[in-house]
Amino acid sequence: MSVEPRLAAEAAAQHAADARPDRRLLARPVARPAAVLIPLVAAAAALSLWVGRTSSGPAFGLGDAALAETILLEIRVPRMLLGLLVGGTLGLCGAALQGLLRNPLAEPGLLGASSGAALGAVLVFYFGLAAADSLLLPLGGVAGSIGALGLLYALAGRRAELVTIVLAGIAINALAAALTSLALNFAPSPYAALEILFWMLGSLADRSLVHVWLALPLMIPGWVLIAAAARGLDALTLGEEAAATLGYAPARTQWLVVGGTALAVGAAVAVSGVIGFVGLVVPHLLRPWTGHHPSRLLWPSFLAGAALTLAADIAIRLMPPGPELKLGVVTALIGAPFFLQLILRRSGGLGS
């Protein structure tokens, strides 16, 4: 049974190719973004190990080799790794969701995974468990994001339309926000409320390698699911019917992206709090550079998200002494005006 019956077209195509072998129509997938972004990420990671809040450089101020090693291995390495993983996850998931929804305004928080994770962590604070064991905080976040995914699945159903999923995500976001407010409202003390608020602003400070090991087992399957959806995202460029007849059923692509995002972003939020705008701005910036091809945008967005997050975290450490700025605040401060400018340039003004 021939899989591709030999149409006379085969011969015609061969003839056309032989007659004009001058130029390939399909450029090989370019390595250009990676060639720039990988060194950029490496530089940001190296700088992240170098720059400290109170001292910088290989000697770490005091000249005590043992102390320097401790600072490097137990403070700066985990912080650098988390910046890399969290930033990369946000960039990757933002690109995947924008591809799925075919909308450049989608962002990783859209489906409720990050607000679910935030709620999970807030509940840990609320019941005073964060002091008992610092690991309960990220665990609560992970549980929250998985709970949000489960709720999304229950609300939308397996063969749900995209719009149903987005609406369910909005409902979950609203519910999680309401419950978070409730926890703040009934916080046992003003100090506890402040702690919750600060945690939600997002930060990479005071994390250890344990946080890395906690997040990775969820992030890696999340990345794998999204990588498996890459072709499906390309097919969706032609709309859902054409994608289905190209062998990439939209429902499958949809759940790969939704599940992957919920796992990876939920894990990211669980260990770092809410860090906004990275997943929105990064794919937007890179899109022209990857020929607007949804699948080619994924890994460059991972790299650029990592570089941007590391850079923002380095900037925080370079600020004058005082209360440390939270990472989520910095990304929003940079991201929001930048994004507004992108929208304005895109539409030629708000009015049009």
Binding site: A9, L25, T237, A242
Partner: protein
Amino acid sequence: MTLALDGIGVLYGTRIALEPVSLDLEPGELVGLIGPNGAGKSSLLKAIAGLVPHCGTAAWESRPLARMKRLERARTLAYLPQTQAAHWPIRVAELVALGRMPHLAFGEHPSTDDDAAVRWALEQCEALELADRRVDQLSGGERARALLARALAVRAPILLADEPIQSLDPYHQLKVMSVLRGYASLGALVVVVLHDLALAARFCTRLVLLSRGRVIGEGRPEDVLTPAALEDGYRVEPFFSRHDGELVVLPWRQAGDAGRRG
């Protein structure tokens, strides 16, 4: 090699969109599905493509399409949707190359064969010069040609097209129809939903006339496009003529409206 439709029917909720249809469609044919709005043309096309829940089976070479592996089915049947969607402003060559996706294994990049298929498809549609343009910078006719090339690039033995000439100027209507006929003449089965009776009569080798979810006529255009069938199916009185030995059919006036002109 035959596409055997056996009792294909479509139900939307409790409304019968298409009563069970059984037909054998042969390679080399350009089959026109015609009929008034809501007759079930698109439902039939979508049921064959497996896009809507339906009863009955569509089998190619005696194998039900629904039971083929997903990429094998995608290589067997190409579908050109009515919505001319291209959601990202990618290059036209890249857009057409999406038609090669069923031929690529996981992680495999397009080969020189795929490149040749894309070039061939663009040439068929007189769209080779558009290859490096961005999709969002095309006119309506150019976009239709690019998307048709995408469907041809699959090189499937079955091509289904849902109203491919809707909203195109006369030049592009003729262009698209002749591309579809050319593809059928290479040995493919092409099934196309049409509203234009004149083009259906001229280009199709076979017509299936549907009305109210039922097939009311089927065969060569001369045999299907009779005054009685058109009055029954479309509620119009046709104008018939011949030009260069070919049948010309135009809907002339609403049926039962003989007193008035127009």
